[in-house]
Symmetry: C2
Subunit: 740 residues, 2 copies
């Protein structure tokens, strides 16, 4: 009996179990069962996969990429440039390690070149027209690289052609104030000015000279600004060290704006309307030419006239005089002129961007864009190929994971290899102009890695404050190059830091105020949150304002592998850091963009602005209360949004709630665009950048302008800017508030 | 045994059943069970609920709303205006039928008024300074409404004050070409011109007169343009009919742009920077004053000089002469001047928008905006209170359903009761300026119902072609006023139709090219898809260009209820039609915005443009191929998107796919904004509107300008516009393509 009861119970239990199993698995919960996409929508960054991915980034492959990229000079639109186009396309179309798609996009853009048949000349000519000195035309060769016939003669891109001659004067950095000071001492009409690199925009050195009747301008890089004073190529400069050789010349675009100069605000397609050449603004009105410091030394040390003040002196072992104008009577050049024969010509040429994409799995209409330019002045091993060699390794690793089916990002990733950046960020600008609305509406962030490595001391990052958190996270995740005990973050915080009221001591994320690389059209034209990442040298050990081979024929694989990053461990670290930021932006459920860090930055800028000019403005009846109110609104709105985020279970609530919050974060910077003035510098928090201050640059510029001119119209401009700034900051706050 | 076996089987079956039930209901399928939000996300328009909702809209309540709204004149910023602010707030805050939230938003805006203490005067003065005739200062009273002391004297808003006198000339409609023609016949220096209403912008009649030395301008509405020639108030005009009485005067804003004139592109807050008055552009440089046709008759029929050509003649029973200049010798006014004493003054005053919202349940960050202005020139029974009385009934019905918990829209609905529209769309403009980014990024569509009813013949709708389908659907759903057998759509297609290559004969949806009401800042400044809805009279039965009481003191409840819509059934039909559009835009799973209808419209515009000016442009070396290519791109992209939509099961696929497509549709019009020029007319497909053509108005204007001036710079402008248009249309096509 007990047995049959036991059997009965066991049977009953078995039947019950069977029933339970059938009930649970066998019958579909019809309307209750979750659609398959529910899980995908709530997937966050996979930290293990990210670690695997970063560990795949190989320094040797980066080194090989760089060697390949720098075999020949690849000045925009030349045959060397086309080789790099093909290289990018081949890599990004590789069936095993390529991207989902890759293609080229072409633009017809206005460029400026020296004439290979009539090289630019700078000479000292005696009153009897004898040539007493000729500035060397090409940089001296120390390796076969410099002997490559494709090395472009040093020139000032967009300088007009022209033959001018006159007595030489020395104008320090060629700033407006320098010419103003100089004009008090020396009659400037019909002179040639020699100026030092830096201190102001390249084109400004000619633009601000012309009103004084100066006929032409020379530019050179003073050894005290770039070489810690070292001048001798016998044992001091490259190839003995990273310092610039005496004949080295920094090339560059001499233009005040960016993008194709003939098609402002429009993509430069073949059929696009072009403004007349005479309507181009912001380029030199008079010939200007850069020269090496060995020739500058010959000229400056022979100058007559009074001694220039201490601040104007430089690295040469002579006194820098103003010029009589002209050379001193005791000089062999006495009574001689300096003559510029400039044969630059403009040409509309076909420049390509190479584009590649990885399609997003969940939100394909959200783009994270990662880019760098491809063109260089000469071989460009550091600028830009350090960035490109890193990008190629990153796309190889990501592409492989995609091809193997191991990973697909939540959002789409777009890679851009921009053309003709050296001529004024042209490829990236045309891209933003062509796809204006699409990019404005869908881009989460832009990451720029141009000069990836110009030293091995520390990460140097610049970007919107909302990205501070994600770059910190990435930097903590990556070991500092060559060190096992320290992270990139640890080195960074030692090298450059600040005290945040919220976080205490943290690395200093710089501001993207300038237009130094391809982030500019994204930041200043589209209002897209951006980040620029590089590794730099120790500024306590050198006063060089940039690596000394910058824009010269010495920026080669040889230079980089010997003096910048032997072993390419720093390139690798930059790749890992940038890769981590990229994947976090692409994969995070909640966008890693922190609006309260933006608030902290606005508050700091406001404090600085108040201390600098609240009282002077009040004296002109301009109140800064509206900006104070706006910044407080922004703070309260960002606190509120963060509270909403903290109190939400975003992985489990409706995916539209997450999308709403992500859109608020993504579109925040769009609200900062100036609605009152068109222009290529419309982000009112970071542009324009006439003066270097840590506070609202547009307003600071206007204030400085009004203080110096005293004009009512200039003060009206300040007042207008106070209104613009307060209204755009309020507008940004509206983006963060509850959406209805 | 059988029994016990049976019992055993039964027990076993019971246990199995219990197991199945436990398994199915008792055990959570954990990760497999659908979150509660899955169902909400896929809800579409509930057609039954929509029918219920529309059937609630009550003509009697609309009538009572109108009576309440028009008790006193409610010129912007006056006490009468404030009464309507309170009325709106009370209704929208009603605990049983109000909205989720309602509030006022205030702006300090620059307005222009006549001086009540020194009324504007127009007189005929003899050479000895005797006053021979004085134009009547206020419109004649036929009902107590006109006797209200708050009726503002007829004036030309933004005309400068000034005393001017001179010989009278007749200048037809005061178009630039009219003055040009007239100047060939009569010396115009120091004259006063009398002009007919219409034909050009109000301000242009003075702006285009000034260069000829004309000192002042009069404007009147010719009986042939508004009254089918009827002139007598003994038995022909109001209160005997809807026709304008002889002393009736159309008031209006005399400004060429819209929005507060002192704070372009910025919200006119108290602290906002204001431009100097002298920098205002687009307003009359010389005094201008509107007068009734009884006075115009006295003046025009006395004019000397040659007879004006047939096209210049009007409804008076005399020949319209040019003027000698001045009156004919046989006139009692011989040798007399006409004198204008204008005392208008400008003042910055506080104007309010009243805002109300219904929060969206699923996509609260998507806005459907429905609005109308609240201010009127006098009582404004038709303009704008017909629209406001309908809006109040619509918000009552929707609000009640929300308060009762029966309905909440998928997207948020924002209602706007705009201030100071009559002074230049000021309230709506300031709103778009204040919330620029937020509205740009989140607004699905704007619906404007201003003059809801000015007749009972037919619906008249204007809007972007993408909304054609939804307004058709709504119009089919609603019975034509007073008819059981015909829908609003049926009457519309009889009244105004066109043959579409796709649909055959359909009602003609007009284009929103102008700036006639508050849709303009949404369309032309923000690029938001918009629709303007009204009911109009039968234009085969009258040549009136608008209802004759427009902007006069006769636009009253009495007038509307007797001559426009007795019984208020037409108001009701407009409310139902607009309500259906509103709910469909707010509730549809897939936004009811059809991109291929946009493509059809672009193709029609292109065909027209090609036939009008492809050859003349080719002769100037300007190819229209880029626009052809762009329109073809747009067509192919829109076909593709529709194919994607057709092949998708949007209710069951990931909600982010639906959101992506809806964003593509929502943001389409943003891509049409001109990136090259700032301005209040930036939508290149619909603006600006100098000439009335069915094709790309900006390009047509530029072409007409180049043809008339022949200048190279004017042809360059045409070429630039070809590039702008082709690139924005390509940009719009990019928005419709696969997102990556």
């Amino acid at each position: 009996m007990i047995k049959s009861v036991l059997i009965g119970i066991l049977c009953g239990a078995a039947v019950l179990t069977a029933g339970i199993l059938i009930g649970h698995y066998g019958i579909d919960k019809s309307s209750d069962s979750a659609p398959t996409w529910v899980k995908d929508l709530s997937k966050d960054v996979d930290e293990n996969l990210l670690e695997d991915l970063l560990s795949e980034l190989d320094n040797k492959r980066i080194e090989e990429n760089l060697r390949e990229l720098t075999k020949v000079p690849h000045l925009a639109t030349t045959a060397g440039d086309e080789q790099t186009v093909q290289l990018m396309l081949n890599r990004w179309r590789d069936p095993e390690t390529g991207l989902d798609q890759a293609w080229r996009e072409e633009y017809m853009v206005y460029l400026s070149f020296p004439d290979p048949d009539k090289p630019n000349k700078v000479t000292v000519v005696s009153p009897s027209n004898g040539v007493l000195h000729t500035v060397i035309e090409k940089e001296k060769a120390y390796t076969p690289d410099q002997e490559n016939p494709a090395v472009v003669q040093p020139y000032a891109c967009y300088s007009p052609a022209g033959q001018v001659q006159g007595k030489l004067v020395y104008a320090n950095y060629g700033r407006a104030s320098d010419y103003q000071d100089l004009s008090q001492r020396v009659p400037l009409k019909n002179t040639i000015a020699i100026t030092k690199s830096g201190g102001t925009g390249r084109a400004d050195k000619a633009i601000d000279a012309a009103p004084y009747g100066i006929l032409g301008v020379l530019v050179y890089t003073d050894p005290s600004d770039i070489n810690d004073g070292f001048m001798s190529d016998a044992n001091e400069t490259y190839p003995h060290s990273w310092y610039m050789p005496p004949s080295g010349v920094e090339r560059g675009a001499y233009a005040s704006t960016y993008g194709d100069l003939l098609t402002p605000y429009l993509a430069a397609k073949e059929e696009t309307y072009r403004i007349p050449l005479k309507d181009i603004t912001g380029i030199p009105p008079i010939p200007i030419q850069p020269i090496g410091f060995e020739d500058a030394y010959m000229l400056i040390c022979e100058l007559g006239g009074e001694a220039a003040p201490a601040k104007w002196q430089g690295g040469f072992n002579c006194t820098y005089n103003y010029g009589g104008p002209g050379f001193r009577p005791s000089s062999a050049f006495n009574n001689s002129d300096v003559k510029l024969d400039i044969f630059n010509y403009g040409e509309v040429k076909n420049s390509s961007n190479v584009m590649g994409v990885i399609r997003g799995a969940v939100e394909p209409d959200r783009y994270v864009i990662y880019g760098n330019h491809r063109d260089s002045w000469v071989h460009g091993a550091i600028d830009p190929s350090s960035g490109t060699s890193v990008m190629l390794e990153l796309t190889r690793v990501l592409g492989k994971m995609v091809k193997q089916g191991k990973w697909r990002p939540r959002r789409s990733i777009i890679f851009g290899s921009w053309g003709a950046e050296e001529f004024g960020l042209i490829g990236s600008s045309e891209y933003t102009e062509q796809y204006f609305t699409k990019l404005s509406e869908r881009t989460v962030a832009y990451i720029n890695v141009d000069i990836a490595v110009q030293g091995n001391a520390s990460l140097q990052a610049a970007g919107m404050p909302s990205l501070q958190n994600v770059i910190f996270k990435a930097a903590k995740q990556v070991k500092a190059p060559g060190l096992d005990s320290m992270s990139v973050y640890d080195k960074w915080i030692r090298y450059s830091n600040r005290t945040s009221p919220v976080y205490g001591l943290i690395p200093s994320l710089r501001y993207l105020t300038g237009a130094g690389s391809d982030y500019a059209p994204f930041v200043h034209y589209l209002g897209i949150t951006s980040l620029d990442i590089s590794y730099t040298f120790d500024r306590t050990k050198t006063s060089a304002r940039i690596y000394p081979a910058y824009h010269t024929a010495y920026d080669t694989f040889d230079y980089s592998s010997k003096f910048i990053d032997p072993g390419f461990y720093t390139h690798q670290a930059v790749g890992k850091t940038a890769g981590s930021v990229l994947v976090r932006l692409a994969d995070s459920l909640l966008l890693p963009m922190n609006c309260s860090d933006y608030a902290e930055s606005l508050e700091a800028s406001l404090d600085e602005a108040l201390s600098q000019f609240e009282n002077p403005l009040l004296a002109m009846n301009i109140s800064m209360e509206p900006i104070k109110h706006a910044v407080a609104s922004f703070r309260s709105a960002s606190n509120h949004l963060e509270q909403v985020i903290r109190s939400s279970d975003l992985a489990n609530e409706t995916p539209l709630k997450l999308r709403t919050i992500n859109d608020q974060l993504m579109l925040l910077d769009r609200a900062f665009l100036n609605p009152v003035t068109l222009g290529k510098f419309r982000h009112v928090i970071w542009a324009p950048i006439q003066i270097t201050t840590r506070t609202f640059p547009g307003l600071s510029d206007a204030y400085a302008g009004a203080m110096s001119s005293g004009k009512a119209s200039a003060w009206a401009q300040v007042h207008l800017l106070v209104s613009v700034m307060s209204q755009v900051i309020e507008g940004a706050a509206h983006m963060l508030r509850d959406v209805i």
